[in-house]
């Protein structure tokens, strides 16, 4: 494979993780006072803030009698990437990310409970080190829980890629920016692990179909692991109440 060796001879990745290891996740719920729900999540070096407003009355043009309208905005701060980003929101990639966020979260929210209403979800990426979309989905889930919006299940997202050890493909979990930029395939899965369903599946770059199963199952496992972490964080937050000043480290 061109570029830096994604998997060393000892089986370690560029940042020293083993192929099936997630990056360290630290999160805190209820960071802002104005929104109904908010959360801050770090996944390795990727740092994301999410704020949720709602459900509130929907704008007349967006009204839907079938269920709540989920409105997402994904924006990357200009200082989030190594080169200054000129357009924080409104460019095509951010619009696509907003669409994907909306899709993943609409699958998780019990939309039929709030017809003619709207839920606004704003996500800001403070530092992007790969997996910004996944961190956004995870942070948005926490913010929704903090806002008290009823969910069918946790919406968790995870990326996975593949590297070759000799001739044997090894699936890498939770790709970082360097691994993404090395040109390898990157499969993003947003799933509702407890009800065993997949809300969003996205893959770019080429991957031979024989290896697809390995990469997919690794990503699904990653989502399940993230759900356990998020669940623990929520329970600890509720147990301590919002007076606990420290960030929860898992």
């Amino acid at each position: 494979m061109p570029g830096p060796e994604l998997l060393s001879s000892q089986g370690l990745r560029l940042d020293g993780r083993r192929p099936d290891e997630l990056r360290r996740i630290r999160c805190k719920l209820g960071v802002f006072t104005q929104p109904d729900g908010s959360a801050y999540l770090e996944q390795g070096n990727t740092k994301v803030l999410a704020a949720v407003y709602g459900p509130h009355q929907a704008a007349k043009s967006k009204l839907s009698t079938e269920g709540v309208v989920v409105n997402c905005q994904y924006s990357m701060a200009t200082f989030s990437t190594s080169e200054r980003k000129n357009r924080p929101r409104g460019d095509r990639k951010s619009q696509e990310m907003s669409l994907h966020l909306r899709q993943a979260l609409s699958a998780a929210i019990k939309t039929e409970l709030y017809p003619r209403s709207q839920i606004d979800i704003y996500v800001e990426v403070l530092q992007a080190d790969g997996g910004a979309y996944c961190a956004s989905v995870n942070a948005a889930t926490l913010a929704l829980i903090d806002a008290g919006v009823p969910l069918k299940a946790y919406a968790c997202a995870c990326t996975s890629s593949v590297a070759w050890r000799g001739n044997h493909p090894e699936a890498l979990l939770d790709v970082g920016h360097v691994e993404e930029a090395a040109g390898g395939v990157c499969l993003t899965v947003a799933a509702l692990p407890s009800v065993d369903s997949i809300a969003l599946l996205e893959m770019s770059h080429r991957l031979h179909m024989d290896y697809f199963e390995v990469v997919m199952s690794r990503a699904m496992q990653g989502c399940k692991d993230i759900e356990i972490i998020l669940d623990k964080a929520v329970r600890e937050h509720l147990a301590e109440g919002w007076t606990k000043p420290d960030v929860i480290t898992i």
């Binding site: 079938e66 269920g67 095509r92 990639k93 619009q95 696509e96 669409l99 899709q103 699958a107 939309t111 039929e112 499969l187 509702l192 009800v195 065993d196 369903s197 997949i198 809300a199 969003l200 599946l201 996205e202 893959m203 770019s204 770059h205 080429r206 991957l207 031979h208 179909m209 697809f212 199963e213 997919m216 199952s217 699904m220």
Partner: protein
């Protein structure tokens, strides 16, 4: 204009029909509509049609300064426009969600998968490179825009020929088409996007039509019956280059595997069609035949219906069984053993393409028995 809402009864009917194994227009789950590719007089201009969905793509090139981070590579730029011509709910010059979606999918399929050799587009490192721009315009929306748009993009990129360039010392001379033969673009592999509609947990439909797309995206049931649209971008080497799942949630990964397998078979057929059409266009040009869009735009026969094909096809044309059939459909009974089939007194004869006539069977003369059950047409 707002989009025509798909009514609940339409949704329920289409879902019931599909779960019982049929499709509205009579196709099987794996059948696609007719592909047609037609090239224009310029290199790089093509219209692709998939049934009634029509998409036009045009490739053009110009010399620009390369990007700072990639000084020796050319630039590929894909732009998709969906205007009111495609369907009345789209607004002119306004980026709707669908526009963003199509743009990103085509970018991922053709740019990120590195199907074009961008280094061959370099003229002078850090100063001049070719910038190839593909403009895709949706002419008519009848479902499965992504597949049609990707076929149009692929065909036009493969068809496109850029002017030849020679360097004379410091000067760079760009030759016209008449001076030197233009150079075709170098494609490493031919990726094409295929769409599948997912109904329930295990029904995979190839090439969904407009109404099938609308229904599968809005499947929301108390029983958590999932559904959605799965786009698989695949090339002739059976490598998926793109995967995208939209719509409601799906419940098993197996359906994605099934889709990728089905996509690799179908993808190969489509890529062969594209390659063949480019070769035949080449031979026609060498014979100096006039190339234009005449065939794909005009109809050969007069028609009284708005559409060329029936959009709803009856399950079978056996007229005697009409009453029995409708009862069976209501019961959703698949008891093949119990069915009593009477020999039909009428024949269905195909006259023109896509038209049938009912002729009474002629044999020796006999009294026609009119019983109270059968219906005589």
């Amino acid at each position: 204009m707002k989009e025509t809402i798909v009514s609940n009864s339409e949704k329920a009917f289409v879902q019931k029909l599909i779960t019982s194994g049929h499709r509205l227009d009579g196709r099987t789950y794996k059948e696609t509509r007719n592909h047609q590719i037609s090239f224009g007089s310029d290199y790089g201009s093509c219209i692709a049609s998939l049934g009634e969905t029509k998409v036009m793509a045009q490739v053009s090139c110009e010399v620009v300064q390369p990007k700072q981070i990639r000084p020796n590579e050319g630039i590929l730029y894909i732009n998709v426009e969906v205007g009111p011509m495609a369907a009345p709910q789209f607004e002119a010059n306004r980026q709707s969600d669908l526009t963003v979606y199509l743009n990103r999918l085509l970018e991922k399929c053709y740019k990120d998968s590195k199907c074009i050799d961008l280094e061959s587009l370099c003229i002078v490192v850090e100063e001049k490179v070719w910038s190839i721009r593909v403009d895709v315009k949706i002419l008519n929306h009848d479902g499965n825009l992504i597949e049609c748009a990707s076929i149009a993009t692929l065909a036009s990129l493969a068809h496109f020929k850029r002017p030849d360039v020679t360097r004379a010392g410091d000067k760079v001379i760009i030759h016209t088409m008449t001076e030197k033969d233009p150079i075709p673009t170098v494609l490493y592999h031919y990726p094409v996007c295929l769409t599948f509609a997912i109904f329930g947990s295990d029904i995979l439909i190839s090439d969904p039509s407009y109404i099938e797309e609308a229904v599968c995206m809005s499947v929301v049931d108390e029983d958590n019956v999932g559904g959605g649209l799965l786009v698989v971008g695949i090339n002739q080497y059976k490598e998926p280059c793109l995967l995208d799942l939209t719509g409601a949630a799906i419940h098993s990964v197996n359906i994605v595997h099934k889709a990728i397998l089905s996509a690799s078979e179908r993808g190969k057929l489509i890529i062969d069609i594209v390659k063949k059409s480019i070769i035949s266009d080449d031979t026609l040009r060498q014979k100096r035949a006039r190339i234009n869009y005449k065939d794909i735009i005009t109809n050969e026969h007069r028609q009284s219906l708005i559409r060329k094909e029936l959009s709803i096809r009856l399950k079978n044309f056996n007229t005697n069984e009409l009453k029995q059939e409708s009862e069976e459909e209501m019961d959703q009974d698949d008891d093949d053993d119990v069915k009593i089939i009477e020999p039909s007194k009428y024949d269905i004869v195909a006259t023109l393409p896509k038209t049938a006539e009912i002729n009474a069977k002629t044999g020796k003369s006999a009294w026609i028995e009119i019983s109270s059950d059968s219906e005589v047409e």
